[in-house]
Structure formats: C-alpha cells, structure tokens
C-alpha cells in the first residue's frame, strides 16, 4: 500500500498559474468586505491601510526557487533522519484526480513541525500543485526560515484573533479567494496546533467553516476534504513535548533553535508513513443537513455568523475527518509495547512483554488498528528492534524491561527525580496515546461496566455516556454520537468475545477478563488524573484562583501527593490533562469562570466537583451525579 520514495527525482517542471493575480483579486475583495463589515466610524482609507498591513503580514509568496532549495535540503535532512518515508500512492492518484475536479483542502494530522514541510515535499515530489498553508504566526518569528516558508506557500495567521473583525475579514477572504481560484490546494491543521501528546486534539472549526462557506454560498460546486495521516515512528520533538507538558516553558521558535536541533540529525527516527485518505465531498456530506437557501437573502460578500444547523454540521464534519485521520494512522509494534509497559511501571520480563505484545496485537487488529507489524520477522526480533530504536526510553537489564528513569548522575532532589521519571512516563505515554483511538470506545465501555451498579444495559450506557461527556476534550468523541459510540464499543467487545449481551445485560465472559482489565488499565491514568484535579478543587483551591495560577497550582498539588506516596500516577502532571480536565469541569458547570477586574478567576461548586470525582472513581452511581449537577 505504501511506496517508498527515499530517492529524489530532480528536474521538476512547475506550474504556478496566476497565484499573483489571485492575490490581487483577493486584496480588492477583502477590502470591500472590510469596509462593509466595519461598523465603526473610521475612514475607509484607514481601514484600507490596516487591511493592507494585515495582508502583507499574512500573505504567501510562492517562489519556485525557494521550494526547490527547500526540497533539496529536506531530501538531505530526511535521508539522515529517517529510514523510510512511505506514501500510499493510490491516495496520491486520488488526490491528483480530486484536484482536477474541485477545490481541495488538505487536512493533515499535526504531531510535529515536520508535518507541513513533509507535505509540501511529498506533493512537490509527485508533481502536484503545492498547497497554500495556514501556519501559525510563531513561525514568522523565525527570521530567515519564516520568509522561506512563506515563499514555499505558507501564509501566517495569528493564533487568536477572535475579537479583531478586520483581521478575521481579511483572513477569511484571503482563504476563500484562494479556494475559489482553485490554483492550489489549501492546507491547514484541523487540530489547530501540534498535539504534544500524540493523541488527536479535538478539532477547531473556524478554518473549516471558512473553507466550507464558498460551497454553502454556491461559489464553488463542491469542496473536497482530504484527511491525511502522518505517523512518525519516533517524533523529533519527543522529549521536548514531555518537558513542555511538565511546565518547562517551550523555547520560542527561532532560527538558532532550529540550528540547535541539528543535534537530532545524528539520531535515528525510524520511518514516517503518510496516508492520503479518500477525498470527502462536502456536497455529499451536507446533503439534507444544510439548507443553502439560508444564504440567499444577504449579499455573499457580507460575512455572517453560521447558523446553528451549519455550526453543528461543520463540527460533525471536523470530528469525522479527525477520526478518518486517526483510522489511517500507522501503528508500530512499539506502540503496543508502550501501552503494556505503562501498565507495568515497575518493569516486566522480556518474554512476558513479548507474549503480551503479541496478545495485544491480536486485540488491536480485531478492533481495526492499522498496524505495521513486520510479517516475516520473528516476534522476538520485532520486540528487540523496537526496544533498540527507543533505547532512550527503555532499558533492558537482566531480561527485565523497564522505563529509563532519567539521568541518575549525582545527587538529585526528590522533586528532580520525580520530574525525570515523569518525563519518561509522559514520553512513553505519547506512544500509548497513538493507539488510544483504536480502543477508546471499548475502553470507556470497560470502565462503564466496571463502574456501573449493575450489568443492565441502560445503566452501563448511562455510565458510558457520563464518561464520554467527561472525556470529550481528552479523546475524539463527537458530541451527539454517544449512542453510536456505545454500539460500536459493544460490537467490538462482543466480536472479540470479551462480553456477551444477554437480555439487556452486558456480561463479561471468562476470557474477556484480561481484555477488560487491560482496557481499564488504559484509561486508569486519565480517571485518576481527573480525580486528582477534582480533589484539588475540593481541597486546595482558594476563591481567588485565577486561570493562570491553575496549572502550576494543580501541578504542585499532584507533586505533593506523589511524593507523599499517595499517588502513583505521573500523567496527572501533564498540563494537557490538567487543561482538559478543567475544560470538562467548566463544560459540566462544576467550575465556572468569573471575571473580576482584569482577571478571570475560577469559581468552584465543590458539591458538584465532589460528586463528579466520586462518579469517576466509581464510588457514586452515575444517575445521582447527573442529578447533583442539575
């Protein structure tokens, strides 16, 4: 399915028809939009100028010489870094066809800086039109590289511009003009930012909304969305991410930083798989879901808030695409091993690890995982070569495999030791996270079965649905799809022989015990992590807790618990989990934001938080928790 293209073909011919004119067209239209959208009394020429500045800051300037230079350098770099870059060629052919028919939007997963370089590199190699990429402003700060990226097709957007109407107008008009002209595919990341945890982030729908609008307004016949899954065997930023999650601030993107990153060039990062999915037609998706006549009554250049119906359609689509990305992520054997190791932090025998990995392989395959397991290699060799590639994370001594505990040199404070250990746990978790999408529904069901007061199907469902609500920022669970998700989970567990459904009861079979306990273990750290956050709110949080203070505060709370020996879960130290937990509590109304002067403080409803905590821990039946919230 994937074909290897480590070798580089030279002498590409290139067509860049009318990109320049496209820009001009956009300029004029964007201005028009702005002048209309601006209700303030500012003079039109001032607005004009402002818009002009924004456009300068944002626009891409595709230059083929730059792209060639980039391609040349990247080929060198990729060759040293990676063993293989594998691309599914039939996906490329589909893409080729789609580009000819309709405007195309490329939606890759986002796990690394490499992603968009890699995308442009691949499209260039296959002689496809280079994408125009919406990249975050932080890249622009990188002096020389920023300009280079711009010249290879990136345009830059501010991370947040919620309030700036003019910026929004210029930006959305820019994207739409590019789409309507259809000279080049548009590329952006649905997840909005790089996932530091290697599990997909819940999609942001702003940009997706923009690229769908030309279809809703009839300006184009259709738009095709192409989900693209980029799977790295090892991520360049691996330990960087772990540190970032633990609160070591992330270095600002700078050219010198990139140069320092040269150190990583000497390491082996395994292979990359890029899977171009089936193009998804917005027209087909929107049929019977979006009434386009709504757009008839206002001139099309006037920006409008999407209706509720449209909003939910765009959200659904975004989730659908992210799931498609997840489904085609290529999983390496190490991902299975990491999942097992994380449930055995004290380490385990190599032979046992091999055995369990093979068992998990079977389970993963029955759940539809896209596993890249070398077929004709003895399993012992598969395991040992994975261990070798990730020797920075695991060590084997005396036939026992365990996580590396960080640098043991010299005397370290207990806190430092803890953080070192947390780095390896979080790094390891980032591999386990890659397989979460395969097991997430069965795993939630497993927890639900475990927590539910009885095995009655509706009670299990209540519990399941509660967990889905709780974890909807943590995992890709489309709001409103709970029933479907539940059925899917039941189907998978029944199929693998782990549970039986008998007259409205869900019963765990004998041979299903091990599966369920593994699945329970998979979510254990999340359940614990959320409970710790709840516990923090109930026990420690003061009234004047601001949003900014929240993360350091909850972190030191968790550190205390771990040092006291009351908690063994290191993942709760991850700021990602802390943020997600807070988002869940906010969404469920247990915590609310209150604006006091310039500060946003968090107001805690201790009763509600407490009952959520108990429900998560299975100490309180779900039904009551729901009532308590009401």
């Amino acid at each position: 399915m994937f074909s290897d293209f480590s070798s580089w073909a030279v002498g590409k011919c290139w067509i860049l028809s009318g990109t320049e004119t496209g820009c001009h067209a956009c300029r004029s239209r964007a201005f028009q939009t702005c002048s209309v959208s601006q209700e303030s009394g500012e003079a039109p020429d001032i607005i004009h100028e402002e818009a002009s500045v924004i456009l300068e800051e944002m626009a891409h300037r595709l230059k083929i010489s730059t792209v060639r230079f980039f391609a040349f350098t990247l080929t060198k770099a990729f060759k040293t870094l990676f063993q293989h870059i594998c691309v599914n060629e039939e996906g490329i052919h589909r893409l080729q066809q789609a580009i000819q028919e309709h405007p195309v939007v490329l939606l890759p997963s986002h796990r690394s800086y490499m992603d968009f370089l890699l995308m442009s590199y691949i499209l260039y190699t296959y002689d496809l039109a280079l994408p125009v990429i919406a990249a975050g402003m932080d890249f622009m700060g990188m002096k020389f590289i920023g300009e280079m990226l711009r010249m290879s097709g990136a345009f830059f957007i501010r991370r947040s511009f919620g309030g700036d109407k003019l910026y929004w107008a210029v930006f959305s008009e820019y994207v739409k003009t590019m789409l309507r002209n259809g000279f080049a595919p548009i590329e952006f990341f649905l997840e909005g930012t790089r996932s530091r945890t290697c599990k997909s982030l819940t999609p942001k729908i702003g940009l997706l909304n923009i690229v769908m609008e030309p279809f809703f307004k009839g300006e184009v016949f259709d738009v095709h969305l192409v989900p693209i899954s980029i799977s790295y065997e090892r991520i360049l930023e691996e330990s960087l991410y772990a540190r970032e999650l633990l609160g070591v601030p992330k270095p600002k993107e700078s050219t010198s930083g990139l140069l320092k990153a040269r150190r990583i060039l000497s390491e082996n990062y395994g292979s990359i798989h890029v899977y171009f999915g089936q193009p998804v037609s917005i027209r087909s998706l929107a049929q019977d879901k979006v009434n386009r006549c709504k757009y008839n009554l206002v001139p099309r250049h006037i920006p409008r808030k999407p209706t509720k119906e449209t909003q939910s359609f765009v959200t659904d689509t975004a989730y659908r695409i992210v799931r498609l990305q997840e489904d085609s992520m290529v999983l390496k054997p190490w991902v299975l091993m990491a999942s097992i190791l994380l449930q055995n932090l004290e380490g385990l025998e190599l032979s046992l690890l091999t055995e369990q990995t093979l068992w998990l392989r079977g389970l993963a395959q029955s759940c539809g995982a896209f596993l890249d397991w070398p077929d004709h290699t003895p399993s012992a060799k598969v395991v040992s070569s994975s261990l070798a590639l990730h020797r920075g994370l695991v060590c084997v001594s005396g036939g026992r495999v365990s996580l590396v505990l960080g640098e043991p040199q010299g005397l370290v404070t207990p806190e430092e030791a803890l953080f070192n250990r947390a780095v390896s746990v979080l790094s390891c978790a980032s591999y386990r996270n890659q397989i979460l999408h395969v097991f997430i529904r069965p795993a939630i069901l497993a927890v639900a079965i475990h927590n539910a007061a009885s095995s009655k199907k509706d009670e299990v469902f209540n519990c399941f649905s509660f967990l889905c609500k709780m974890f909807s920022d943590e995992f890709i669970l489309c709001p409103g799809d709970t029933v479907q998700d539940f059925e899917e989970a039941c189907y998978l567990l029944v199929k693998s022989g782990s549970v039986q459904t008998l007259q409205q009861n869900i019963v765990v079979t004998d041979r299903g015990q091990s599966t369920l306990s593994f699945l329970n273990g998979l979510l254990e750290s999340f359940l614990q992590g959320y409970q710790v956050v709840c516990q923090y709110f109930c026990e420690e949080a003061c009234d004047s807790l601001t949003e900014k203070q929240y993360i350091p505060a909850v972190r030191s709370f968790a550190v205390k618990l771990i040092l006291a020996g009351n908690l063994r879960c290191y993942e709760v130290l991850s700021s990602d989990m802390q943020k997600n937990a807070l988002a869940a509590l906010l969404r469920l109304g247990a915590v609310s934001k209150v604006k006091v002067a310039d500060q946003v403080t968090l107001k805690v409803n201790k009763l509600a938080v407490n009952s959520l905590e108990d429900t998560l821990g299975g100490r309180l039946p779900t039904q009551k928790a729901v009532l308590a919230r009401l």
Binding site: G218, E219, F221, C293, Y295
Partner: protein
Amino acid sequence: MSATVHCFPRQEIMKWNGWGYSDSKFLFNKKGQAEFTGKRYRLSGMILPSLQDWFENTFGASVKQHKSPPSLNAGALPPANLNEAFLQDLTATGIPFSHEADDRVFRAHGHCLHEIFALREGRGFQRVPDMVTWPNCHNDVVKIVELACKHNVCVIPYGGGTSVTGALECPPEEMRCIVSLDTSQMNRILWIDEKNLVARIEAGIIGQDLERLLNEGGYCTGHEPDSMEFSSLGGWVATRASGMKKNVYGNIEDLVVHIKVVTPRGVMEKSCQGPRMSTGPDVHHFILGSEGTLGVVTEVTMKIRPIPEYRKYGSVVFPNFEAGVACLREVAKQRCAPASIRLMDNEQFQFGHALKPQVSSIFTSFVEGLKKFYITKFKGFDPHQLCVATLLFEGDRERVLQHEKQVYDIAAKFGGLAAGEDNGQRGYILTFVIAYLRDLGLDYYVVAESFETSVPWDRVLDLCRNVKERIIRECKERGVQFQPLTSCRVTQTYDAGACVYFYFAFNYRGLADPVHTYEQVEHAARDEILANGGSLSHHHGVGKLRKEWMKESISDVGLGMLRSVKEYVDPDNIFGNRNLL
C-alpha cells in the same frame, strides 16, 4: 345527448401527442439528412446537413434507432364520469360541449415531458376531463360557472394548452365530473381605444392571432412569449407570462390594465381603467399567476403600441460565457437593453450551428468560412468556449441605430465582436422551432426538457455552472449512460438580476423508467437552483410540478394568504385543478 361540436379547426391542424402543427416536424429522411417539414416556418422544407452529426455526437444516439409513437387508443381512456343534472342544464343554455375521446385527451395535458412521453408510449393518463365545453363569451362562462357551482362539478380552464408545469393535468383523486372549459371561442378583440392605446380583448385569443389582428390596425401588444403561436391571453394572465421583448413593452403584469374574471363567488373586476391605483393590494395580482385555481379570466384590457417603424436584429460573439454575462450586466446597469437581448452558452451556440440550413452558394460558404477563421484564428476565440448574444432592436430608425451603437460599444469592452444580423435573426427563429426538436429526440430515445429561473446578477454564473454540473452528476448517478446535454441562456435582463433558461436532454437507452429518471434529475436541478439563490420560476409557473417548493419559496404565512383567498373565492374547490397550493 346533443350539441357535440367538431368544427374547431385548431385541434385538427395540431399534433395530439407532440408540439405544434401536425405538418411541421423534424425528421431524418432516407438519406439520413435532417429536414424540417411543412411550410410555416423559415426553416420549413430545408435540409439541415449538420444536425445528424451533432445529434449523434451529443447524445450518443443513432438515427437508425427510430421509435415511432402509436396512434390514439380511445379504448384506453377512462370512461367519462358525467354529471347528468349539470349536463341537462348546460344543454339548456346552448353552450356547445363534447365528451368525445379525442376532445378529452387533447385537453388532458400540457407539454411536460412526462405528459408527452405518456401519450407517445400509448399509456395515456389516469384521469382526463370528462367533458369539454366551449363558451363563446363572458356570459357563457358566467352560466357555466354558476351551473358548476350548483351541481358541484370541477372546472379546469383550458387556453392554449402549452403549460409546462403539469397545470392542465386532472388530479387523479378528483371524483367529481371534470369539465374542461376551453376558451378558444372567446377570441375577439372587442374594441380598440386609440386615445389611451388600450384594447379590450377576450381572453381566449391566441397570441399570434392577437398580434395579427392588431397589426391590421397598425398596432401590436409587443408581448411575445416563445409559445405565442399557441398560448392564449388568459393563460398569460394566469401564469404571469413574460415576453421576449419585455424590455420595451413589459411583462404581462405591466401590460394589463383591467381584468374581468368569473369566480364561484361571482365576477370580479375593477371599476375603472386608471393606469395605476392605490387601493390596497392590487387585486389583479390575485389573478395574475393564479393558474386557474380561482376562476376564468374572460376579458382583458391591455396596452397596445403602434407597430415600430424599424426593427433590426444583431448578434455579438464573446470569448466565453463569463464575458457575455458581464456584458449583459453592464447593459442592464446602463438600462439600455434592446427589446430583446439573450446570451446563449457554448453548447447552445453549437446547437444553433447544427441547425444551419444547407448553404445555397459557394460564395456563402466561403464567407462563412472566412468569418469562422477570423473569430477563432485571428481573434483567438476558443470554439468550445465562445458564446453568442442575440439582439433585437425596435423603434424609429435613428434611435435604433444609435441604440445599437451604444450596445455594441459596451459589448466591445467585454471582448465581444459584432457577428451580424443574420446570426441574430436565426437565433430568434430557432426559438419557435426548438420545441419541435423534442419530438425528434423522442423518436430516437432522447428525452429533453427546459426549465427556467430568475436570479440576482452576482449569482448568475455560479448558478449556471452549479446547475449544469449537478445535472451531469445526477445523470451519472442514476445510470444515464451518455453524458447529458446541459445548456443555458440568459434570456431576460432586469435591474437586479436575470432570467436564466436551461435546456437539458439525454439519451435514455438502457434506463428502465426514463421519465422517472428525468424527473429525479429535474428535481435535483431545481433544488440546486434554489440553493444557489434562484427563484422557483420566472414565467413558467408552479402548476403541480413545483408545488412542493412553494412553502419554502413564499413562507408559511405567504402560503396561508394565498390559501385564504382561495377559500373565500372558491370554497367548494370548483376550480379544482389543484395547482399552486
């Protein structure tokens, strides 16, 4: 029973299962060349050498696969369900009527594809009128409607029979006796008022007769819908018709000064003929577009104009459709549209070429070749992109010439090249013969239909492109084996938008139920039109074909308003054709 009338010539000279006159039709002769029979049109009796190639290449059809329609099978007709009491009373009035099979079938349909197809397949209709009556004047209509109310009989007014919305179809669930009220005998011009330039005309008059009669006195109405050879004044009023030359003369609602209409509640008419009134909502507008659901229009006072001194055709070639639309928009903006201006897309341009008659002299073909060379090679127009606008100017000579220059100057700004009077004139002749072509298609397994919409200027191009693409896609999805012909033209310009007319045809071989497939595709096309900001109809009307979209189009309240009028005017649903609502 007596008083069966058979002396009405129209029915005798017209096809019962196709468009127009019996003597006029397209056919492929023994040599395989296309010709148009009869003597009525400029194209009549001519050989059209390129039509066969175009036909075979466009549709993947073969002229060898001929399929001739059966003749009328009177036995297949549902028996007449007569209301004896009504019949007795009607006989007493002396108004002629008939319940002969051919009279009934002739008035059971309009010209929708499914109607013509059913006739040609010999399948007929589930429900046809049980009898036909021919009132001679307003008072006859009053009598008929009174009797219909008295005996609870359903009345369906019938004018020219050119409906393309299923408006003339009898509702299959109608259990009462259905009387087709044929207005064709009410065809007189009652008076002409030269001081005010209006004429009082009976509503049954057919367009071309009206024009001919007025021409005799030096006048015209200037109302020329494409169907004017066969459609009636009453029908125009009932459907809100639009004429080709509306830019000078206006659409029917602009032309009408006074309407007399017979409803079950009685006769409605205004008390004076003032040119404009502020007397609440204009009651004429309940009648205009009522599609025979409220009553029968019997007499109309209509504006007339002196016949224009000078008339000149013209045409402009544009490099592509986009340039053409931009030009029309500019013309509309400057409010200098000629009497008619129409923009045909490339498909229609090529189709027009296929209908060029054999050239008589070597010189003509040489000139044609030279023109083609100039446009495609010298000017660099792509023959698969270029499109043509046809123009018609009317007025006094000097003004026309001045006007012409203005329009050509605008066209030049958009890359348009003047392409001669002849091309323009041919474009308008085609309008009248094009309807005959569907019958030719049906002879060779090709179904065809047209539909129209009106749309704001900024959406014209998007709508045309999206609708065409939707049709092609839907056909593919439904197993149509050859790519369909989709073509459009911008036929009318307004200040705020344009009227767009679509043609759509495909080869249906290999399809189990071509009409059903066709209807599904047309339905999808209409959805697409509405989604792209187009209207449900510009001038064809709603009939039964587009009823389902009415609520969406005019809102619940709007529909309720129309319903309450219907309920007041016709509580017993005497005018029960069930159009519109």
